[in-house]
Amino acid sequence: MKYNVGIDIGGTFTDLICVSSEGKTIVHKTLSTPEDSSIGFINGIREVAEMAGQSFELFVSSIDTIVHGTTVATNALLTLKGAKTALVTTKGFRDALEMRRGIREEQYNNHYRNVAPLAPRYLRFTVDERIDAEGKVLKRFDEKDLAPIIKKIRDEQVESVAVCFMNSYKNSAHEKQALRFLRKNLKGIFVTASFEVLPSIRFYERVSTTAVSAFVGPIVAKYLDNLTNKLKSIKFKGTLLIMQSNGGVVVPDQVKKNPAVTVLSGPAAAPTAGAYYSQLLGYRNCITVDMGGTSFDAAIVIENQCVTSTEGNINRYRIALPSLDIVTIGAGGGSIGWINQGGLLQMGPQSAGALPGPVCYGRGGKIPTCTDADLILGYLNADFFAGGKLKLDKKEAEKSIKDELASKLGLSPMETAAGMYRIINSNMAQGVREISVERGYDPREFLFIVAGGAGSIHSSEICKELGIPMFLVPNVSSIFCAAGMLLGDLKHDYIRSYFTSFKNLDQKKFIAHYNEMKDEGNKALVIEEGVSPDRIALYPILDMRYVGQYHEVQLEATWEDVVNFRMEKIFDLFHKEHNRQFGYSLKEEGTELELINVRLRIVGTTERPEFQATNIKPVTAKSAIKEHREVYIPELNVMKLVPVYDGDKPIFGAKIDGPCMIEKITTSVFVSGNYNCLVDGMGSFIVYDKKTFPKGFQLKKKK
């Protein structure tokens, strides 16, 4: 027997999923070990081996692939505990990184400070070199200018160096020279340059992304080395793959070249899993949401493809690499309830986090949170939280809601808890609206997939507010990202800037750019990652716009269109896409088009594990009722006695009527009176609007 293992390390828990070559799935959560997360990693494997009934040694030797999502880079950026970083840049441009184009995100808040630059000013060095907008050298770069800089870098014990010169997207010769010289003379120090990280126009985007890469680089490299060594010591002979922000996976050596690709390594797996699960139900589009302790992530899948964006920021640091488009808002189980000066109830974005956590956890939390409200409203079972591992204190939760909020609002604790529930649902619905409506998509046409233990308590109401007819709580909902990691393909993104009007576009140069990127991608996939050439697919993208516009559209084309220079077809696609995104095109007016960048995504498909499904039978759900409990019914605004089903019972194919609760060890689902639920062959819950159940939809029988 062979195994594939997905491992997602979060702040509190390390999630694991193991799928055997026979399709058997083991899902497991173990405590994270933040001081050295590789310990939790190995612990998790050990515990999964036990669950599989195998010796650790035999189990490890049977693992084909481990796919790993890591928050090492994310946390380094969030807590500013990256490497001591220096920047070498063009004379006259020392401060672009820190200025961030002069933005203050909170305009009326004079206490709001700029973020600390990833390379402080005294470690930002300039050299007298200059290349102009056409790539012409105006001032030749001289290696000698680097000598005093190298000395300072040594004296200051800098750990990482970023190089970014003006217009290097047009001509990278100076950067290449500088990089070579610095690497030669700064042995043991991480050095990277912008042409390696993001060779495209827009200086601020490039310098910021390169600085991020340098800032997280040494930590990510150290982490990966440590992990690879640990895996070697337990005699792991399979392949270790790392999840990237773009939803694809790569080998650790590729990550070390550009560590910034892992800043969204964890959450990127949710839409990847979403694409897979929605296909199982015959959907091509889905929205995935993941509700954790402090945040709520929403992402979107169109035509089975995760949507990427180059507009990302983390902790106000700009990262312009293609990353999955994920909207994160401050709404989670730990979001706290408070009353503003106007006497109105608010939820979050502040969170009680994992410590002290919600009041009901009994770990010293005093401020009522979303989880406390969920408990009061009957959605959580005080004695069956995490399968009974953590007893919840309902009395304390109620007391804090009463003292902190209800007494000030003149409402009962139950009414207040109901208000907290409605407000946080409305906040999360806003997050979903942002990822869909504001990107030009109608959420009602999407399957809504809910991940995270608490998300499915709130999804009935989020869907109702947005008019979404159906949501899915996957069988692996609680470790959804870990599952997504097993479903990712090997992906590499390349970019070349080629700024020109299409009228003046040089066919040879255009095609040469694409072939060059293809060769680079093939080298990474075939030679370094061992992918067989027949499993490789090419996805060219053109960044283009109408002449006179500032914001470009990233247009997807086919490899054939690009190498055969089928421009009419590409123009046509562009007008259509512009019309879809912004409601109009200028095809009729004959407005000229211009090109900014050419991009290539190259994908090597991995072997996907088969999740086992049981054949569904016409069973009734009655046998799974374990009790009746009072829960809050939002559409009636009352507490009502409803059946509670044991979601871990194998009632595949059963139909469950709302309102009800479905409880698993790892997940609670609230089905409001507007919805009914079907249990599919994998034990996922398909919850659908009673009135608008999609016609013609039925559960698939196993082939």
């Binding site: 401060d95 200025m99 002069g102 700029n114 126009i201 000066q341 106007g342 912004f582």
Partner: protein
């Protein structure tokens, strides 16, 4: 009707999400960099009587005039407002704030009853008048500045009025403006759809009562903020230099602020009479300046609706520099905001010293037009990256570096350098923080910048407008002021003997030759508190980062050095 307090919170969130959505749509569809890069626009929702439900204010100075215009439109049309109408407006003598800031209004109906308005206002790249772009330092009357558009329907009951459209755009230079107005109509349509669906969901009665409850709750928040200011009458003054006509002319802005329990009155009656040139404010732009300054002194999380502005009273008599009489030229009016802000901070300083900032850098700005030799096309570019100085420090916090004028407060972004070098023929030589530009203090003023650009292409025209080149901005409580703004051209040797030219703060220079060096200093913000009391570790860090000089560290901050 019983008020559901929770629903009131949800109303607030929903209104905000609608105006945000309108704003995102405008950013992505507009052409003029003033809109899509600098975000010089606002989107808003108003109720049937023109009361503000919510706004998304990318550039606050033009924001608080939408409500007053909405009320003008309602009064003008009375019963002649129909579903499918689209109304355009820019007229500063009927509550507009600046000629270039053109508003679109769309009424929203539910079951044949007017329930609200969606509106979007943006600074257009051109609005007719004598000078492209609208900034005409020679203007003395509104017609030399712009085409006046009092409220007029572009669509009536959904029917496009091509005649009106043609009349307006026959008087505006750039085709782009038509595209950008279409984008504004699009944003209003988005707002209309969403507010309509919202009223449909909750019903008219709930909508009305809960909207009112939201106003009441917000008003309560604002009143509680005002009540934290000790009662009294406070005075503050600031100066405006040069009206574009008379060398050495100067004018006073004079704020008298009365705080009485939960009410606050801003009285500017004692300010100088209006000027002969275009350095004149207009009622709504002055009220916006007052509002946005006061908002920086209160809880930043107060929702932006009618309840927020209700406790604020404005007295700005006609005929003063802050509210010029018809038919004065007023395009510069928005840029009197820094002086209005100064006078308010100075007035309230003694009452609430912990809430005010020292002086912000005043705007001094240049706009270039010319022919781009590589594309053969005309370009227009406001040099945003060069104009942004620092903000004033306040108790507990240094000023914000390179934030730019207080009317935008960090909402206007620099051009990207590489995009700039593609879209203009010019070469940026330097754009960096200026050492010692932040006013010294226990809390240091935000840093200003130094910009050097090699102007290429030849026959470049430069329009200059702004201030801050005469009087340095001020520090507070022992803090120091900052350096002056400066713009300077250094011609190449073969032109006028390579001489230097320092333009006036309102000026126009034609025929600038290829190879001229443009030099600009945007000053920093003022400091707060005695610099000797500044944390020595922070002083040492500033010195290490070379944002203060050795001399300053030693002599001004008292850092002992080896």
């Amino acid at each position: 009707m019983k008020i559901d307090k929770i629903l009131v919170s949800i109303f607030q969130r929903a209104f905000k999400s609608i105006t945000d959505e309108m704003s995102i749509s405008l950013t992505k569809t507009t052409r003029s960099p003033i809109l899509c890069e600098a975000k010089d626009f606002v989107t808003g929702l108003y109720d049937a009587s023109g009361q503000m439900l919510e706004q998304t204010e990318n550039l606050p100075i033009l924001s608080f005039s939408l409500g007053p215009v909405c009320k003008v439109i309602i009064a003008q049309y009375g019963n002649d407002i129909h579903e499918g109408d689209v109304i355009i407006h820019n007229d500063v003598f009927s509550m507009g704030n600046q000629n270039n800031d053109v508003a679109i209004f769309k009424p929203i109906f539910y079951k044949n009853t007017l329930v609200g308005w969606a509106a979007a206002k943006g600074h257009q790249a051109d609005i007719g008048g004598a000078v492209q772009g609208g900034y005409n330092p020679n203007a003395t009357e509104v017609w030399q500045e712009a085409l006046r558009i009092p409220a007029v329907k572009l669509y009536e009951k959904g029917n496009f009025r091509k005649d009106v459209w043609n009349l307006i755009f026959a008087n505006i230079r750039l085709q782009m403006v038509q595209e950008d107005i279409k984008a504004q109509i699009g944003a209003c349509t988005l707002g209309e759809r969403r507010l309509k669906a919202f009223v449909e969901k909750y019903g008219q009665e709930t909508f009305d009562s809960h909207k009112q409850a939201l106003f009441d709750s917000t008003e309560k928040m604002m009143r509680s903020e005002i009540s934290n200011i000790p009662n009294g009458v406070y005075e503050g003054k600031s100066m405006v230099y040069y009206d574009g006509k008379h060398k050495g002319s100067k004018f006073q802005i004079h704020a008298i602020i009365t705080v009485k329990k939960e009410d606050i009155i801003f009285d500017f009656s004692k300010s100088s009479p209006q000027t002969k040139g275009f350095v004149n404010g207009i009622y709504t732009s002055t009220c916006s300046a007052i509002t946005l300054t006061f908002l920086q002194m209160v809880n930043p999380n107060i929702p932006h609706n009618e309840g927020m502005i209700k406790p604020l009273k404005y007295i700005v008599p006609e005929g003063t520099i802050l509210n010029a009489s018809y038919p004065a030229a007023t395009t510069f009016g928005n840029h009197l905001c820094p002086q209005v802000a100064d006078s308010i901070f100075k007035a309230l300083g003694p009452a609430v010293p912990e809430r005010i900032t020292a002086g912000w850098n005043h705007l001094l700005c240049s706009l270039f037009t010319g022919l781009h030799p590589r594309t053969g096309k005309k370009y227009v570019d406001i040099c945003f990256l060069g104009l942004k100085g620092g903000s004033g420090a306040m108790k507990g916090d240094d000023g914000y570096d390179h934030i730019g004028m207080i009317d935008a407060s960090g909402g206007v972004l620099d051009q990207d350098y590489e995009m700039y070098e593609q879209q203009t023929p010019h070469l940026i030589l330097q754009h960096e923080y200026l050492c010692d530009s932040g006013g010294a203090g226990q809390w240091r003023g935000g840093l200003g910048t130094v910009t050097q650009i090699l102007l290429r292409g030849g026959d470049t025209t430069m329009v200059v407008f702004g201030d801050g080149d005469v009087e340095p901005n001020y520090g507070l409580f022992g803090g120091k002021g900052s350096v002056l703004n400066k713009i300077e051209l250094k011609y190449p040797k073969n032109y006028q003997g390579g001489k230097k030219l320092i333009p006036m703060s309102k000026d126009m220079v034609h025929g600038i030759p290829d190879g001229t060096k443009y030099y600009q200093v945007a000053g920093g913000g003022g400091g707060y508190g005695n610099p000797k009391k500044r944390d020595k570790l922070v002083v040492a860090t500033d010195l290490k980062n070379e944002v203060i000089s050795k001399e300053a560290a030693k002599n001004i901050y008292g850092l002992k050095m080896k």
